[in-house]
């Protein structure tokens, strides 16, 4: 079972890399999907470089969300920050409720077209799962364990670093994984404001009624999401090893 899953993942990775490296080799597969002899493979830009900038945008936005959400989660679970929990929760929830498209609409007039509005939209959208999971992880630390940490003379910072964060890490990583996967899909809308990414392929397909383009953009995005999801799962499992 476990072996089969690994082989499947490697196969997905292989197909994805092969397609990005030499998309034209796959042309016969996509040709039946479009009419009037339109190109079967996206030809208005390099697919590999689009995929890379898509990934870089998502990773950068999620990294920023992680930093802010974990720091905020740690802060509101300290005695000094407890009063800010409701406020932080509201802010983070707004980030999630506000549709990324709307964020784009608001930020473009402020920061102009390109990568920046997409980064902002993804950053705001990704905060909630990481923030909530950080809080859940920190609050799930068993009370006797924390009391033992205090009783043995750990300072608040030592307790956070060597007990609370390691114990919360599986849940925090789960939050990061959720954000990452959601944002891989969401990032495609960035192309409406001229961010470089796989959305470009999909939009080009929609505009020219080219189903092959739409499918290529969608498939590459989807496969990247699957691989990231699995990669994060592997990372999480490493952290669960010691805990009950």
């Amino acid at each position: 079972m476990k072996h089969g899953a690994l082989i499947l993942r490697l196969a997905i990775l292989g197909v994805l890399l092969a397609f990005l490296a030499a998309p034209q080799a796959f042309a016969p597969l996509f040709a039946p999907l479009n009419n009037y002899g339109a190109p079967a493979i996206y030809d208005q830009g390099n697919l590999l470089s689009l995929a890379i900038s898509h990934l870089v945008t998502v990773l950068a936005a999620t990294a920023a969300s992680t930093l802010v959400a974990v720091a905020l989660g740690v802060f509101v679970t300290r005695p000094a920050g407890a009063a800010f929990l409701p406020l932080s929760r509201t802010l983070v929830n707004v980030g999630q409720t506000f549709p990324p498209v709307a964020v784009l609409a608001i930020t473009v007039p402020l920061v102009g077209f390109g990568q920046t509005p997409t980064l902002i939209a993804l950053f705001a959208y990704g905060l909630l799962p990481i923030f909530e999971n950080t809080i859940a992880g920190l609050e799930s630390c068993p009370k006797p364990v924390l009391e033992a940490a205090d009783g043995m003379g750990m300072s608040a910072a030592e307790r956070l670093r060597s007990v609370e964060l390691p114990l919360a890490m599986p849940l925090i990583l789960e939050g990061v994984r959720l954000s990452l996967v959601i944002n891989i899909g969401t990032a495609t809308i960035g192309s409406t404001v001229a961010a470089k990414g796989l959305g470009e392929v999909i939009i080009a397909g929609l505009l020219s009624n080219n189903t092959a383009f739409v499918l290529q953009g969608g498939l590459v995005t989807g496969l990247m999401a699957i691989l990231l999801y699995d990669g994060m799962r592997l990372l999480e499992r490493r952290f669960v090893r010691g805990s009950v």
């Binding site: 068993p142 006797p144 009391e147 033992a148 009783g151 003379g153 007990v163 805990s243």
Partner: protein, 312 residues
């Protein structure tokens, strides 16, 4: 020597610990016993400042515990609690090494100490050092919890219901281990329990608490023969107080010189056990032998009965 001076802790309107003063001799075991809500755990936690007193102070060897930051104070005081609080993400060896590492011991010294303690607690280092807490039995976890509390060679060890979660057989073994280790390291132990038998078995002195007040602080025999308060006699129970009194003395302490051919008892057995043996065998005299099987002396039924009689 630990001196508690007029310790009081209030939460809003309720007084959890009310003006408790006591002096704890070094290298002894003091047990604090009381019902739940009696303030015994709070009293213990004021000694290492997990709870700050509302008023009063704690002196360890004459030095006020507030003279240094709380977390530095706690590194010098061992602390073991019910439910152990072992770190689930750290191995047995890493758990035990916690305080030595906080104190900045070098790795060789830490490793030597961890191996020594694993040996003392009958956990073969090769087999157990790299295990995680959830891979151990309840009794083994408990031993690791105490080993961790002793790791930095503290002169004072605080224990809050450390054996509460153990079944009776493992519990008795853990109590024996604690007595051995206390003798071996000469640690001053303060142990909180709600179990009167445990308090009597382990304590050189027993402090009885109720509703935040210290009712009596004395040697176990004194508590049985001269209870200072109706609550103390109620807690001890009146039906078997003679037997409780007998259980405080060992056969070795009470043996009289002379030879006999009665049933053989170990000098470490309590008079209560010797009495039971005499009743069972129908004999009137028992032969007391030491750990090396050499005869220590004799114990007659009459002398045992005399020791269980109310002091007049």
């Amino acid at each position: 020597m630990i001196t508690l001076e007029h310790l009081t802790r209030r939460y809003d309107d309720s007084t959890v610990v009310d003006d408790v003063s006591m002096v704890i001799e070094p290298r002894t075991i003091t047990t604090i016993v009381g019902t739940s809500g009696s303030g015994k755990s709070t009293l213990l936690r004021m000694i290492n400042r997990l709870v700050e007193p509302t008023s009063g102070r704690v002196l360890i060897d004459g030095r006020d515990t507030r003279a240094e930051p709380a977390h530095l104070l706690r590194r010098r005081i061992g602390y073991a609690i019910q439910g152990l609080g072992l770190f689930p993400h750290r191995t047995v060896a890493e758990n035990i090494a916690t305080v030595p590492r906080l104190l900045g011991w070098d790795e060789a010294r830490v490793r030597a100490r961890v191996d020594e303690l694993l040996g003392v607690f009958q956990l073969e280092p090769g087999a157990y050092a790299a295990k995680y807490p959830h891979e151990l039995s309840g009794g083994q976890q408990q031993r690791v919890g105490v080993a961790r509390a002793l790791a930095a060679e503290p002169q004072l060890l605080l224990m809050d219901e450390p054996f509460g979660a153990l079944d009776p057989i493992i519990r008795a073994k853990a109590q024996d281990d604690l007595l051995d280790i206390q003798r071996r390291f000469g640690t001053t132990v303060i142990l909180v329990t709600h179990d009167m038998d445990e308090a009597f078995r382990l304590g050189d002195r027993v402090a009885v608490m109720s509703r935040g007040r210290l009712l009596q602080y004395d040697r176990p025999a004194q508590l049985i023969t001269q209870p200072a308060d109706p609550f103390v006699s109620q807690l001890i129970g009146s039906t078997d107080r003679s037997l409780k009194l007998l259980s405080l003395t060992t056969a070795g302490e009470a043996a009289e010189p002379g030879a006999t051919d009665g049933p053989t008892v170990q000098s470490s057995a309590s008079l209560r056990d010797v009495l039971a043996e005499l009743v069972w065998s129908g004999a009137t005299v028992a032969k007391v032998v030491g750990p090396d099987h050499a005869v220590v002396g004799r114990l007659s039924l009459a002398s045992i009965l005399a020791r269980g009689r109310r002091a007049t």
